[in-house]
C-alpha cells in the first residue's frame, strides 16, 4: 500500500505539473505566434502599400512624360503649322478647312495633355484643379456643379492631390459611362474627419461596386481603390433609395 501511495502522490503531482506546464506553454506560444503573425501582416501590408505607390508613381511619371511630349513636341509643331497656315492665302482652296483642322487638333492635344497632367494642379491646388476639370466638361450633356469651401488645400502634397484628382476623374468617367445621370455635384470640404470629397449623381445607381465578369477591370475601380489606399483614405458608396449614388472620399489629416 505504501508503494501505491507513493506512486499515486508522485504520479498525481507529476501529472498536475505536466498539465500546468502544457497550459503555460500554450499561453506563451500562442502570444508569440500571434505577435509574429501580426508582424507578418504588417510587413505584407507595408509591401502592398509600397507596390501600390510604385505602381501609381510609375503611371503618373509615364503620363507626365507623354503629356510633356504632346505639349512640347506635337503642340509646338501644331502651333508652327497654324502659323504657316495663317500666312497662307485664305482664298486658296482648302486653306480654311486646314486652319480649322489644325485648331481642332491643337485643342485636342491640349485637352489630352491636360487630362494626362492637370497643369492647374501643378501650379495651384486640388481646389482649382477640380474646378478646371468641371469647366472642361461643359460639352457633355450632364449638368456638373462644383462647390468647395474657403479653405486652402495647397498644403497637401502634390502626389496626394493628384491621387485625389484622379479618383474624381475616374468617378466622373464611371458616371458618364454607366449612370445615365442628368446632374452631378462635386463638393470639396475640410472637416474634423479630414478632407472630404463628395461626388453624387441622380443616375440609375447601376455602377457596379466591384469588378465583375461583365465589367472586368474596365471601371477603374481598382485604380480608385489603389489611390484611396495610396492617400491613406477611405471611400464610401451609398445608393439613394430613389435614384443616384453618392460617393464620399475622406483623406484623414495626420
Amino acid at each position: 500500500m505504501q508503494e501505491i501511495n507513493i506512486i499515486v502522490i508522485l504520479g498525481t503531482a507529476a501529472m498536475l505539473f505536466l498539465a500546468i506546464g502544457i497550459i503555460v506553454f500554450i499561453v506563451v506560444y500562442q502570444r508569440k505566434m500571434f505577435a509574429k503573425q501580426n508582424q507578418i501582416s504588417k510587413i505584407r501590408l507595408e509591401n502592398q502599400e509600397k507596390l501600390i505607390k510604385a505602381e501609381i508613381d510609375t503611371k503618373e511619371r509615364e503620363q507626365r512624360r507623354i503629356a510633356q511630349e504632346l505639349h512640347d513636341d506635337i503642340g509646338a509643331s501644331l502651333s508652327s503649322m497654324r502659323f504657316i497656315v495663317g500666312k497662307m492665302d485664305p482664298k486658296l482652296e482648302g486653306v480654311k478647312e486646314l486652319g480649322a483642322t489644325v485648331s481642332r487638333s491643337t485643342q485636342s492635344v491640349r485637352r489630352i495633355s491636360n487630362d494626362l497632367l492637370p497643369h492647374v494642379l501643378e501650379e495651384l491646388s486640388i481646389k482649382e484643379a477640380l474646378g478646371n476639370l468641371v469647366n472642361n466638361l461643359e460639352c457633355i450633356p450632364i449638368d456638373f456643379t462644383y462647390t468647395s469651401d474657403d479653405n486652402d488645400y495647397s498644403f497637401l502634397e502634390k502626389d496626394v492631390q493628384l491621387a485625389m484628382f484622379r479618383i474624381v476623374q475616374e468617378l466622373i468617367n464611371n458616371i458618364m459611362k454607366y449612370a445615365e445621370a442628368k446632374n452631378v455635384t462635386i463638393n470639396l470640404s475640410r472637416s474634423n474627419e479630414g478632407i472630404m470629397i463628395v461626388v453624387s449623381d441622380d443616375g440609375n445607381g447601376n455602377i457596379p461596386e466591384q469588378d465583375t465578369l461583365k465589367h472586368p477591370r474596365t471601371l477603374g475601380l481598382k485604380n480608385i481603390q489603389s489611390r484611396v489606399q495610396y492617400i491613406g483614405g477611405s471611400i464610401k458608396r451609398e445608393k439613394n433609395p430613389q435614384r443616384g449614388t453618392k460617393v464620399t472620399i475622406i483623406k484623414p489629416l495626420v
Binding site: 500500500m1 499515486v8 497550459i23 505566434m33
Partner: protein
Amino acid sequence: MFSIIPSALVGGIVYKRLNRSLKILFWFILVSIVWDAMSYYCYLRQLSNMALLNLYPLVQFGFIALIYFFISEKKYWKISILIMSLILYLFSVYTIVIMDDIMIFNSLQRYVEGIIVITICIGYYVQILRQAEYMYLEKTPFFWLTSGYLVYFSGTLLLFLFARLIFENDPGGYHWNIRQFLQIGLNMIYVVTFWLGCKKLTS
C-alpha cells in the same frame, strides 16, 4: 458538493448571453448537482450509491463531448470526438456488464474517460494554436474550461486507476481530498468560464 452551487448560480444569471456550448455546460452543472444530491440521499439512507457513481462518468463525458463537438470547427475533429465517445461507451458497457458489476467502483472506466478528455483538451489547444485568433487566451472562456478539465483529469487519472486498492485499504484517506480539492478548483473555473462567456470576445 456545495462548491458547484456558485457556478450554477452564475451560469443561470448569464444564461441568455451564453453560446450553445456554454449552455450545455450549464445544463451539465445542473445535472451534476442533481446527481450529487441523489448520491448524498442514498448515503444518508445508507443505500449503495455505487450505481450512480459508475453511471456518472457516462453522463459527464456525454456533456463534455457535446461541448467540444460544438466548439470544434474542423470536421475531422468532430468525427474524432464521436469516435472517442463511441469507444468510451462501448468500453464502459464492457466493463460494467461483462467484466465487472455495476455495484463495484469502475476505476478503469474513469481512467479511460480521463485519457480521452485529456486528448480532447490537447486537441482543442492544437486547434486554437493553429487558428491564432486570440492574443490573450486567458480572456476566452473555453481556454479556461479546457485548462480546468486538463488539470482535473490529469490530477485524478492515477487516483481513479488505483481507486479500488485505495478504497480497500484506506477508504476515508487523504487521496479523496486531492480529488475534492481539484473538483473545487474546477467548479471555480466554471464560474470564470461563465463570466467570460457572457462578455463579447475581442482579440
